[in-house]
């Protein structure tokens, strides 16, 4: 198939998947919307959909009409930060065909370690956040050695192992917080405040975004995307990861160190999740108060699937997910449809993106078309040769 056809197929397939998800969403909204008559329900549904689809960047009010909302956009960009990191993390781990699901626990551990570094390390500004984030990343990278080594040495399922690690990480952090680290002067369980030197600065003046918080973490995330893209497509290690993911026997035959590269992919994935946790923590919060797994890891998996494991596509997928999530939040506020609709929509999109045979009939048509053209081309060439 030609590249153009391939691209066209990918785009159409993605759009159809999203449309199906929105259709499911519409039906669910319709069922859940208030209203006695069909017409009223329809009205409510339209209102809810408007909030969900356009709300994230526009504010609707009777008085001022429709207006662009910079703050909401900033919120979306801010929400992209942690999920971009987990998305990248999952991309790299899944590219080697390893189903490590540890990004969820990883981002929490990274956030926690960075938070501790922010509280207890006496470091000058600039150096402080850098050191804290690096420590967070390294902590998770080291943790991911466990599922990776168990997989390569003993063939223990990296999936089950990483899932269990998620829970262990969560409970150990909760235990440490409750028992040793909580600030007893506060009403709820939270750490002592971070040292001011540790904060990741906001990217622009708050006033512009009327109270929105967007830290330099966003820029770091975009830099991370580029670095990961370079790593995956422009370095020998990323190349090896991808080849192992496509055909492990081929990689071995070609002389690649398969075991080592598999470990590398998970350590690197761990580092990204951990660093992402640190950046999120230092850019948005002033003390550590997470008491449960944040869910960014699972969103990261969705993002990686939407991005087709391509790091460069991650910010777009992350933006899409953050936009949808914001839309669902707004819908919950203004249209009284529960925000968790996002999870269903996300699940449906995820399923259709991952379904190999989805629209396979259409793809088959394109392949056949390409093959026919190729044969024609070859014939023409041959005739050309004989004529000459």
């Amino acid at each position: 198939m030609t590249k153009k056809r391939q691209l066209r197929f990918t785009i159409i397939r993605s759009l159809v998947a999203i449309l199906i998800a929105l259709l499911v969403a519409t039906i669910l909204i319709f069922i859940s919307s208030a209203g006695a008559t069909f017409a009223e329900k329809l009205d409510a549904t339209r209102e809810a959909l408007k909030q969900m689809l356009a709300g994230p960047v526009f504010r609707f009010s009777k008085k001022n009409g429709t207006a662009f909302e910079a703050k909401r956009l900033a919120d979306i960009l801010a929400a992209m930060i942690p999920t971009t990191f987990t998305g990248l993390s999952v991309c790299i781990m899944f590219s080697a065909n390893q189903f490590n699901l540890g990004a969820e626990g990883g981002i929490m551990l990274g956030a926690f370690v960075s938070a501790m570094a922010a509280i207890y390390l006496p470091l000058p500004a600039w150096l402080h956040p850098v050191a804290a984030v690096l420590l967070g990343g390294i902590a998770v990278a080291v943790t991911m050695l466990l599922p990776a080594l168990l997989k390569t040495k003993l063939n223990v399922s990296e999936m089950v192992c990483s899932l269990m690690l998620n829970y262990i990480i969560m409970y150990v952090i909760k235990f440490l917080m409750n028992t040793y680290l909580a600030d007893k002067t506060r009403g709820q369980i939270m750490s002592y405040p971070f040292k001011e030197t540790s904060a990741i600065a906001p990217i622009v003046d708050n006033a512009v975004f009327s109270g929105a918080k967007l830290s330099w973490g966003f820029v770091i995330a975009i830099v991370a995307v580029i670095l990961c893209g370079l790593f995956m497509y422009r370095s020998r290690w990323g190349y090896a990861i991808r080849m192992i993911g496509i055909n492990q026997d081929f990689a071995k035959y070609s002389g690649m160190k398969v075991g080592m590269i598999i470990v590398l992919s998970q350590v690197l994935g761990g580092f990204l999740a951990g660093a992402g946790g640190g950046i999120e923590m230092l850019g948005r919060y002033t003390s550590f108060s997470w008491s449960a797994l944040p869910g960014y890891g699972w969103t990261g998996i969705t993002i990686a699937i939407l991005a087709g494991n391509n790091p460069y596509m991650v910010p777009f997928a992350a933006f899409f997910m953050a936009y949808l999530s914001k839309g669902c939040d707004l819908m919950a506020t203004y249209a009284k449809v529960p925000a968790q609709l996002i999870d269903i929509v996300q699940g449906v999109i995820f399923l259709f993106f991952a379904a190999e045979q989805f629209l396979s009939g259409y793809r088959q048509k394109l392949v056949v078309k390409s093959a026919e053209e190729e044969i024609k081309l070859a014939k023409a060439r041959k005739e050309g040769v004989t004529n000459a």
């Binding site: 370095s235 190349y239 080849m243 496509i246 026997d249 081929f250 070609s254």
Partner: protein, 526 residues
């Protein structure tokens, strides 16, 4: 002598008339083949790999459907659309790779899909065991009904397969190379059992290329070559030499232009390799040879005589029980593939889709897989994309890979072009030794010719080449000297291929002749 003027109204249990099978990829595996079976005979179906005998039998068992031609079983014209249809008409097949479930007992395997039940729900184990016993005794095929299949020897597994067919009412048994996995005692046992079945009125198709076995137990034989039938014969009326000539031979003799080889120092030195596979069959028996700079050493032989195992050892996909193999003095047995490649060894693998390429990656990504860490393709931590593009474009040009661009997925290419991608990589990284395992199998004439020329060219430039091929044409035309493998041993060594005939080759390939140890030992140039 041919059986053509058999009585016209003779009744056959199976008649396959002018069967033609063309696969979707355009390969014509059978062309106008006639095949028939008399009731109660053991009928050999012979031919080299790729001669079309498996395809023919797959059609009889309903696994494939003929493009044209008809199949008549017991006088009834049939559309054999699936194995169940074939089974219903009394045709059973014993596959070379057993269709058994290892953790189930023999009796359970016997009744799978037709389980006897008690109280309508539970497996009637006693009944299953009884059925197994009954058939086992009736046909004198000894099995242990209660043993798990994974715990029983290969010979017994095969008996289970035969019984499985019989219990489903098969009167015609197709046996696909049944002796390939058996030790000699097991083979002897099998023959007694097959004769017994024949006496009971069963008809057996015996696919094989082992002459002695065929002479021993078959009544008639059909020989196939290149998808065509070479005729039907009564076994006692033909000699082994005649069969060999009909079976092994070239329809068209291609000739490749090449200068006389001037062999240099030994590059690959293999000594006394021995390998017993996990089922206890000896696959390599004291294999020793040398490959020198500037020469092509061919390994001829019918497939399954140890060639695959030999290549596996030389690229560390497996480890031999004993023996040595060195490349320029460094041992390569058990060495990681990366180190083997660093010694200058290249491999064109037999199974190109499994090892040779990553189908979902681009041509470019496939041609650099062995050199991705080379300094000249990297700028510090990153790839030097310019160098990589140049390298891949150069290879695509040099090896005339027909494609749209270097970024096209390899999986989208034709077989010949895929093999050119493999070869482009393996021939271009300054190899000292090229292991070419079936380098032109199943690809078009153009690509075949190209690859053969390249191999000669490379060897003349001083590279040592080990060519493993089941294609007689290829191995005889390309090799400067060649060895023939039979039953895991080197049956013959010829230091000059020019005077060789198909007849001589056939006799060694099929085990009719064996050179003395001293003659074979000449391949070691100590």
């Amino acid at each position: 002598m041919p059986d053509g003027n058999a009585v016209a109204n003779e009744t056959f249990v199976v008649q396959m008339k002018s069967i033609t099978k063309v696969y979707p990829n355009g390969v014509a595996a059978n062309q106008g083949v006639d095949f028939n079976l008399r009731k109660g005979e053991i009928h050999a179906l012979m031919g080299e790999n790729g001669a079309g005998k498996s395809t023919l039998m797959k059609m009889l068992f309903g696994l494939e459907q003929p493009t044209s031609g008809e199949i008549i079983v017991n006088g009834e014209k049939l559309e054999l659309t699936s194995p169940s249809v074939a089974i219903a008409h009394g045709i059973g097949m014993v596959h070379q790779h057993f269709m058994l479930v290892p953790s189930l007992s023999v009796a359970e395997n016997m009744v799978l899909g037709m389980v006897p039940k008690k109280s309508g729900l539970f497996i009637d184990r006693a009944k299953a065991i009884e059925i197994t016993r009954q058939y086992s005794e009736k046909f004198n095929l000894h099995v242990e009904p209660e043993a798990k299949v994974m715990d029983i020897p290969v010979g017994m597994k095969q008996k289970v397969e035969i019984l499985k067919a019989l219990v489903r009412g098969a009167k015609i048994l197709i046996m696909d190379e049944p002796t390939a996995v058996l030790t000699s005692q097991e083979t002897a046992e099998l023959f007694v059992e097959l004769k017994h079945l024949k006496d009971e009125g069963y008809t057996i198709v015996f696919i094989s290329h082992k002459l002695n076995e065929i002479m021993e137990i078959t009544d008639r034989l059909t020989i196939m070559r290149n998808g065509r039938s070479m005729g039907v014969y009564n076994t006692r009326e033909v000699t082994k030499e005649q069969i060999s000539r009909l079976m092994v031979g070239r329809d068209v003799v291609l000739s490749v232009q090449k200068d006389r080889a001037v062999p240099g120092d030994t590059v690959l030195r293999v000594r006394d390799l021995e390998y017993v596979n996990e089922w206890g069959k000896k696959m390599l028996d004291k294999v020793s040879f040398d490959v020198r700079k500037g020469e092509i050493l061919g390994i001829a032989g019918v497939e399954g005589n140890g060639q695959k195992e030999l290549v596996d050892m030389l690229f560390n996909f497996n480890v031999p029980n004993s023996g040595a193999a060195t490349v320029n003095g460094t041992s390569i047995l058990g060495l990681p593939q990366q180190k083997i490649r660093e010694l200058g060894v290249s491999l064109v693998p037999e199974d190109r889709m499994l090892y040779g390429i990553a189908a979902g990656a681009s041509i470019e990504e496939n041609v650099i897989s062995d050199r991705a860490s080379d300094k000249r393709l990297n700028n510090g931590p990153l790839f030097n994309m310019k160098a990589i593009h140049e390298e891949s474009d150069r290879l695509i040009r040099e090896f005339t890979v027909l494609c749209k661009s270097r970024s096209q997925h390899v999986g989208m290419l034709s077989g010949g072009n895929i093999q050119k991608v493999v070869v482009a990589r393996e021939f271009s990284n300054n190899p000292a030794l090229i292991l070419a395992d079936q380098p032109t199998r199943g690809i078009d004439v153009g690509a075949t010719e190209f690859i053969r020329k390249k191999l000669v060219e490379l060897s003349r430039s001083g590279i040592a080449v080990l060519l493993v091929s089941a294609d007689l044409n290829e191995v005889m035309e390309l090799s400067d000297s060649l060895i023939v493998m039979h039953n895991g041993r080197i049956a013959a060594y010829f230091d000059d291929t020019s005077g060789l005939t198909d007849e001589i080759m056939g006799e060694y390939m099929l085990g009719l002749k064996q050179q003395s140890d001293a003659e074979v030992r000449r391949v070691c140039h100590d």
